[in-house]
Symmetry: C2
Subunit: 306 residues, 2 copies
Amino acid sequence: MQSSPKRPTMADVAHRANVSTMTVSRAFKRDASVSADTRDRILQAAEELGYVFDSIAANLSSRRSGFVAVTIPSINNANFADTVRGMTEGLRDSGLEILLGFTDYNVQEEERLVGQLLQRRPEAIIVTGGRHTPRCRKMLANAGVPVVETWDLPSDPIGHVVGFSNAEAGRLMVDHLVARGYSRLGFIGGDTSRDTRGLDRRRGFVAALQDRGLDVMCVSDLSAFGALMECLRRGIRVPDDVAIAGFGAYDLAEQSVPSITTIDVGAHEIGIRVAELVLDLLNGRREPDDRVVVGTTPKVIARHTA
Amino acid sequence: MQSSPKRPTMADVAHRANVSTMTVSRAFKRDASVSADTRDRILQAAEELGYVFDSIAANLSSRRSGFVAVTIPSINNANFADTVRGMTEGLRDSGLEILLGFTDYNVQEEERLVGQLLQRRPEAIIVTGGRHTPRCRKMLANAGVPVVETWDLPSDPIGHVVGFSNAEAGRLMVDHLVARGYSRLGFIGGDTSRDTRGLDRRRGFVAALQDRGLDVMCVSDLSAFGALMECLRRGIRVPDDVAIAGFGAYDLAEQSVPSITTIDVGAHEIGIRVAELVLDLLNGRREPDDRVVVGTTPKVIARHTA
DNA sequence: TTGAAAGCGCTAACAC
DNA sequence: GTGTTAGCGCTTTCAA
């Protein structure tokens, strides 16, 4: 599958342009200390040879991979996708690429994934959530690069944090519902043992209910839409007979008729903030040792279902 | 940021376990030709030293990156996310990792991205769509690794193809609508110059209309939901006053009341098929030179809006 | 089953 | 502004 003979290397380009490989190397990283003339010759020689820069070799030599490793639970989730998009935007023009992995909401899988990602020598590693296996924590702590936990506010962070309290988000919604006069509240979702952030929101929700001595009835995440549609099918009036609130501020919740009351956690902004933090850390604008905790603030978006 | 002194290398592990680095290397890739006893010693030494395998060095030496490069237009799209998920599943246990990049529906950006990805020496490259800049086509054609175009059925493929005709998908929906007695059809979306697949669907749709001499009114993609909700707001009855059909078979379309007629293109299956193809190619189960075209078949899912 | 030697294709560090 | 030297940390290849 190799293009017939053998890929050209910098040495080939150097030879053709009558310079040393070092000069070729400089020309390719826009190092100012190459004369315009020389650079032109080099780039032309490279073009003629069909030379493609080999970053693996560059990475090994410079001991910089150019990667930021990122783990998210799933790619099929608009919230995490927004966060990754934020990171992508924030890292644009930094020369860093995102190496993305999916944990499938499973800490065992996360452990495996983190181990694998670290072998690629990322310059920073960003994980979703603050709960990990002991072995995973240890790997992260010993990685020797900045670690950022997101989408959570762990009490014992490994390194840096950009996120919010999921329990607090749950409480927030109870406050909202109670203020609207609802008194029999329930929670749909977040009961799988794997989505620990969903569980945290449920806990916060239930705890807030208990504080008030209220009953339980119905609230959810994306499933709010499913619940709403089911109510329509059954002729249950929303929000008159029952209120429904979601979580995540999906586009869908806004479009929906009636539009769905939800919590916006600023998923995209989390990504942006993470990127800023990582760049500050990597460029020495921030000391690696001062642990940064960026608390983002979930907000209730009051709409028509609650 | 380095763990104080210096990361341990294979040589350190070898030294501690009283073997050569070569034996350590073998132990780490579960090479059978290492005695169980020796391997145990090595793994223990590695554990004690906190050794982390450096795949960059391994990649350079073996000239295998372990990467499959993948470009998709956006991470915020359930369809492409499904495809990536399919690939992830299909490549699990193959030792290959996905290096994902986003083009933002922009062929210029795709060109830049492909250039960047190729520098990482992927073992195969998978791109979304069959339209690329000339320079991008050239890079792909000369990459020296399998190239797969997806989500399209280009007339002049670069390498392999796993996809479907977007124009055909457009026609399919016209057939469906006409069969249901609708005669004034329109198309919402696919008019940005960048989403060429959306445009193709529109073309197929319009071409099919012209074949029948019909008027134009309203059809869409995810926007079908938006259109539907707007109709509800205005008291327009769907599908009595107007029919609405979407594209992509999002969960939302099924949940929605009324549920939305749509086209399922088997996004997840595309990912699975791509992974199979790539593995066949890489393992020599298939000749790299026989161009494979896997045509997937979009299907209309008739529901309540049309 | 194990080891020695020779790189992989770049860049750091230092000359000039 | 450009070149030389010496690796980066692994694996390939060949021997034993």
